[in-house]
């Protein structure tokens, strides 16, 4: 770890300003990701601006909307009764993330900004385009069991690590920010960027732009939802594949569907064609299987991860069955 400075911000404006004037400065919330990356020398911020004092941790319901403050801890959100009732996929995704200790520290904003777990990314002597554009990608032709079957490019095939982001993508959530240029509202679908030839650029967030909150619009498909996560051990592990799914079912017929996959792409992977294929169909195993096949239609393995295609399809079926029978 390189030496760095640390400062505490009192309000969002101060936090933004402190980071804005130093290109190598970073925010720190729970610190559970940024400190690991610093310890491994992957990130070398000159200044860490502590944002824990700048905003609350509130989770507020107003009408058909729930607003989650960026500094709410993962455990706050997972345990919130409104979230559990109206957006179970979000609560389930969080409860299956990391460990209880980490969830008590880690913030929602930090979770959305976490970096990939590609082992070459965290091994500073291995070439990695995400760490330094142009160095090459060690995972292509290397160890890629955990890598992408969708959305990869010639320069990067990593997968996004956040479970929450997958649920928020399925939920069409909005991310609200506060930056040097004022405030913005960004759809999750526009927030994460595919690697293309700039894998070092991961989100639409500008330098010094602070996530202030995340909002969810409630609807019946979100209320009847789940998160299925397949991983190598029973807990405390990132997804091999995961599925956030919600369906509105009326009289045995599917009215609306939301599906996003995790562990399969450099960004949370929404599958609109599979959703469209479900609408108007009976809530049966055959419909689910068909939707799963459509969801995985464009998937392509790169050797070590070929198994994920069938695994993800099975996970989609399992998720849809869970909410199909619950409805």
């Amino acid at each position: 770890m390189k030496p760095f400075r640390y400062a505490r911000a009192r309000d969002p404006q101060e936090a933004v300003q402190m980071v804005a004037v130093d290109a190598a400065a970073s925010f720190v919330a729970g610190g559970t990701t940024v400190l690991d990356l610093m310890k491994d020398d992957v990130e070398r911020p000159s200044l860490l601006v502590d944002i824990n004092g700048v905003a609350g941790r509130a989770i507020v319901r107003a009408g058909d909307e729930i607003a989650i403050a960026a500094l709410a801890r993962m455990s706050d959100v997972a345990d919130d009764p409104e979230i559990a009732k109206h957006a179970p996929m979000v609560a389930n995704a969080l409860l299956q993330s990391a460990s209880p200790q980490l969830r008590n520290m880690a913030s929602i904003g930090g979770n959305l900004m976490q970096r990939t777990r590609c082992s070459y990314f965290r091994d500073i002597v291995a070439p990695c385009n995400k760490r330094r554009r142009g160095d090459g990608c060690s995972a292509i032709g290397g160890e890629n069991r955990r890598h992408a079957i969708f959305g990869g490019s010639e320069s990067c095939i990593c997968v996004h690590a956040s479970d929450l982001a997958v649920a928020l993508a399925a939920a069409d959530a909005t991310i609200h920010t506060n930056g040097p240029g004022g405030t913005r509202a960004i759809q999750v679908s526009d927030f994460y960027l595919l690697p293309r030839d700039t894998p070092n650029v991961e989100t639409a967030l500008h330098h010094a732009e602070l996530i202030s909150s995340v909002t969810l619009s409630l609807d019946p498909a979100l209320a009847n939802s789940t998160y299925v996560k397949v991983r190598d051990r029973a807990q405390y592990e990132f997804a091999l594949v995961s599925v956030a799914a919600g369906m509105e079912i009326v009289g045995g017929t599917i009215r609306a569907a939301r599906i996003a996959l995790g562990g399969v792409a450099p960004i949370p992977w929404r599958v609109p064609e599979a959703e469209a294929a479900l609408v108007g169909r009976p809530a049966t195993a055959a419909s689910y299987r068909e939707a799963a096949e459509i969801a995985l239609a464009g998937a392509r393995g790169c050797g070590g991860n070929d198994f994920k295609v069938a695994l993800a399809a099975n996970a989609v079926v399992r998720a849809l069955e869970q909410i199909g029978s619950a409805a």
């Binding site: 082992s119 029973a234 099975n314």
Partner: protein, 727 residues
């Protein structure tokens, strides 16, 4: 009152769980210098130049040491083929090329990243099967890549294959495993007032650490003192010297106290692992279930340095036939050098890998014969007087059948029969059984002894207290309490009146390593014999102070071509039944329950025996299912515990530990070792259970979801194309 056979609580437990106990890193004091190793981070290269000038100019940096600073730059437990700091050649990515010593850990780290090393990369050898080919690069220029080729030849396998009713073949592989002891490598070193070099650290064998370190600095052994702080687990991982000689080098050279700690990543990259094996098997049997022949080829990846590879390989070779008496055996065990992380001792020492193949083969053989795998085992299991594949009768005290029958009984009680496998549910349950055998103590003629000194404080009418001196590592298994219980029993003293002097090579005699499940038997016997002798001295009115060296029955090296010899003086026996749940859609395997039955001779402390069974099963779950150590192109890609997956509490099954006590002829009060046994048959039991659940055999460890899914897919395919058996 009896002191043995009861569950006396551990005196060190409270301090360990409250954090009061001092582990090596807790010994670091203000004013010490700090050492940091420069790792090669490349698997195979020539070192052209090491430029330390920038590092030396940095604030706080006091010295940069290299190979030239080490008087005898070679070490190793069996063969001294490993340099403390590389001279001209790097052989694995965790090789150390320089050591930076500085005033603070930060300055040492900054200095280490400023040391410039110029390399010329050389070809990399990463597959031990390739190591056998003629034109591959040599890992050590001066010798063949084959570290050892051990054969066993008994009877005539070809004739047996020709006359057998069934012959089956199988291929297996097992992975590396990381010890992941709780306390990563650390230590302090300094010169004391008597001008002795003192090293305070954690290890498994005080006197062997002293021997190797004294040799490196060309010092008489008495001038080196090794002291163990509390040890946070070892599992074989501290048998080879990793960090300790580095910190010793800095203190020896600079004549000031020096401290050093490895991060988890440095520990994972820097110390040895369990050997990966590739195993091909061909077994034959008669219609009645008699196993006629077993032909096995085992190729193990020894990594860059010899470590204990040769001994591990020999153990795997003798256990290629499991605990079964088989008339015709042909085994070829081969271990090769590669540019991977070195492999060495790890709980089980070659037996778990060999048993995974052997136990899978026995069950498959039963299926091929249409017999119950239980009956096939009953027919072939070792009994008292059985001849080992190495040609001579087993040591007395063969508990293979007792543990097996007891396991079946217990399994009938705790495992549900019949299993409810709904036709539509993706969750399938299955049960598997497996047996195991593992040596207690050193094998193959390796010098085996343990020495203890007992000094009594007496009155004419009673023994008031005792000092027990025995140089042994309590690696967390509770060895010190067991030895104390044995002394208390032998002298009929309260436990509080027995003082243990155990952790200092200058204060306590050599009892050998805390490894090979040997300390209860060997150390315990030395303590008991010394107590008995001191007591006799007291009764005879002599000075009651006795030093006794216990030597067990002799073992011999194996003939390289035939395997003939006496490999071991004692074996432990184990049988297990495991119930699993397999999700056939995801390939995830969950072990639900396990019955683990152990012949321990005599349980000196029942709670500690059960603790060993449970802890060992946690590592067995990792070995069988979750711990997927990835070393690719010579690079370790799982250097963090966030990507190297140890089982968590939720991965643990319900455990039914069962203790069987068939007294060992040599052990103190009949006790023998057991701490490795639960790992030995476990993967085989899980494989059989997965087969029971799904009809698919998984032959590669760990059983990752994709391997399980693949096996299920293949087995369904085979079932579709194989016509139903007619006869």
């Amino acid at each position: 009152m009896t002191k043995i056979g009861t569950s006396i609580p551990r005196p060190d437990a409270h301090d360990k769980v409250t954090g009061a106990a001092l582990y090596p890193a807790d010994l670091i004091r203000e004013g010490m210098l700090h050492a940091k190793a420069v790792f090669a981070h490349r698997p195979s290269a020539r070192i052209l130049r090491i430029d330390a000038s920038t590092a030396l100019a940095m604030p706080g940096v006091r010295a940069v040491l290299t190979a030239a600073d080490v008087p005898y730059n070679r070490f190793g437990l069996i063969e001294t083929d490993q340099p403390l700091l590389c001279e001209d050649r790097v052989r694995f990515s965790g090789d150390r090329v320089a050591l930076v010593v500085a005033q603070t850990p930060e300055a040492a780290a900054a200095g280490a990243s400023a040391v410039k090393v110029e390399y010329e990369d050389l070809p990399v050898l990463t597959d031990p099967r390739d190591a056998l080919e003629p034109d591959v690069p040599r890992v050590h220029e001066d010798r063949s890549n084959v570290l050892l080729h051990q054969k066993i030849r008994k009877g005539d396998v070809d004739a047996a294959f020709a006359s057998a009713d069934v012959v089956i073949e199988g291929e297996f592989s097992t992975g590396w495993q990381e010890h992941a002891y709780l306390q990563p490598d650390a230590g302090i070193a300094y010169w004391d007032e008597q001008e002795r070099l003192v090293l305070e650290t954690a290890g498994q064998w005080l006197h062997e650490d002293r021997r190797q370190i004294a040799a490196m600095f060309e010092m008489p052994e008495e001038r080196v003192v090794i002291r163990y702080a509390k040890i946070g687990g070892a599992f074989g991982g501290r048998e080879d010297l990793s960090l300790p000689p580095l910190v010793a080098l800095a203190a020896w050279k600079l004549k000031v106290p020096v401290a050093m700690q490895w991060s988890r990543e440095e520990s994972i990259v820097g110390h040895h692992k369990r050997h990966p094996f590739f195993i091909t098997s061909k077994w034959a049997a008669k219609r009645d279930g008699t196993i006629l022949a077993a032909q096995t080829r085992l190729v193990a990846d020894g990594g860059a340095y010899a470590s204990t590879s040769a001994e591990v390989l020999k153990c795997a070779t003798i256990f290629a036939t499991g605990p079964y008496e088989i008339a015709n055996v042909a085994t070829d065990g081969i271990v090769c050098y590669t540019n991977n992380v070195p492999s060495g001792a790890f709980r089980g020492f070659g037996a778990p890998q060999a048993h995974f193949a052997a136990e899978s083969m026995v069950t498959r053989l039963a299926h091929a014969l249409g017999l119950d795998p239980v009956d096939v085992r009953r027919k072939n299991l070792y009994r008292e007087g059985s001849i080992e594949s190495t040609g001579l009768p087993l040591p007395a005290g063969v508990g293979a059948r007792e543990v097996f029958e007891r396991c079946l009984e217990e399994a009938r009680e705790v495992l549900p029969v019949p299993l409810h496998n709904g036709a539509v549910s993706p969750l399938r349950r299955g049960i598997g059984i497996a047996c195991g055998i593992k040596n207690v103590g050193y094998s193959f003629g390796f010098p085996e002894q343990a020495t203890a000194t007992v000094e009594l404080e007496v009155t004419p009418v009673s023994i008031r207290s005792a000092n027990v001196r025995i140089g042994t590592a309590d690696v967390g298994q509770g060895a010190h309490l067991v030895l104390r219980q044995i002394a208390a029993e032998a002298l009929d003293l309260d436990l509080e009146r027995v003082r243990m002097i155990t952790d200092d090579s200058s204060e306590a005699p050599n009892a050998g390593s805390a490894s090979a499940s040997r300390m209860t038997l060997m150390g315990g016997r030395a303590v008991k014999d010394a107590c008995d002798q001191a007591r006799r001295q007291w009764l005879a009115g002599e000075e009651p102070s006795a030093t006794v060296q216990y030597r067990p029955p002799r073992t011999t090296p194996l003939d390289l071509e035939t395997g003939e010899g006496t490999p071991n003086y004692c074996y432990g026996y184990v049988a297990q039944a495991a119930e699993v749940e397999v999700d056939v859609r995801t390939g995830l395997v969950r072990v639900v329950r396990v019955v683990s039955v152990h012949d321990v001779g005599r349980a000196i402390n029942r709670r500690q025996v059960e603790g060993q069974i449970e802890g060992c099963l946690a590592q067995a779950i990792g070995f069988a299912l979750t711990e997927n150590f990835i070393c690719r192109d010579g690079k370790v890609l799982t250097p963090y515990l966030s990507t190297y997956l140890l089982p968590t509490a939720l991965d643990m099954p319900e455990i039914h530990p069962v203790i069987v006590e068939g007294a060992d002829p040599n052990g103190p009060y009949g006790a023998r070792g057991m701490a490795e046994m639960a790992l030995v048959p476990f993967a085989g039991a899980v494989a059989a259970a997965v087969h029971d659940a799904t009809g698919a055999w998984v032959s590669d460890l760990p059983m990752t979801p994709e391997r399980v899914l693949h096996a299920i897919k293949e087995s369904t395919k085979n079932r579709l194309v194989t016509p139903a058996m007619s006869s």
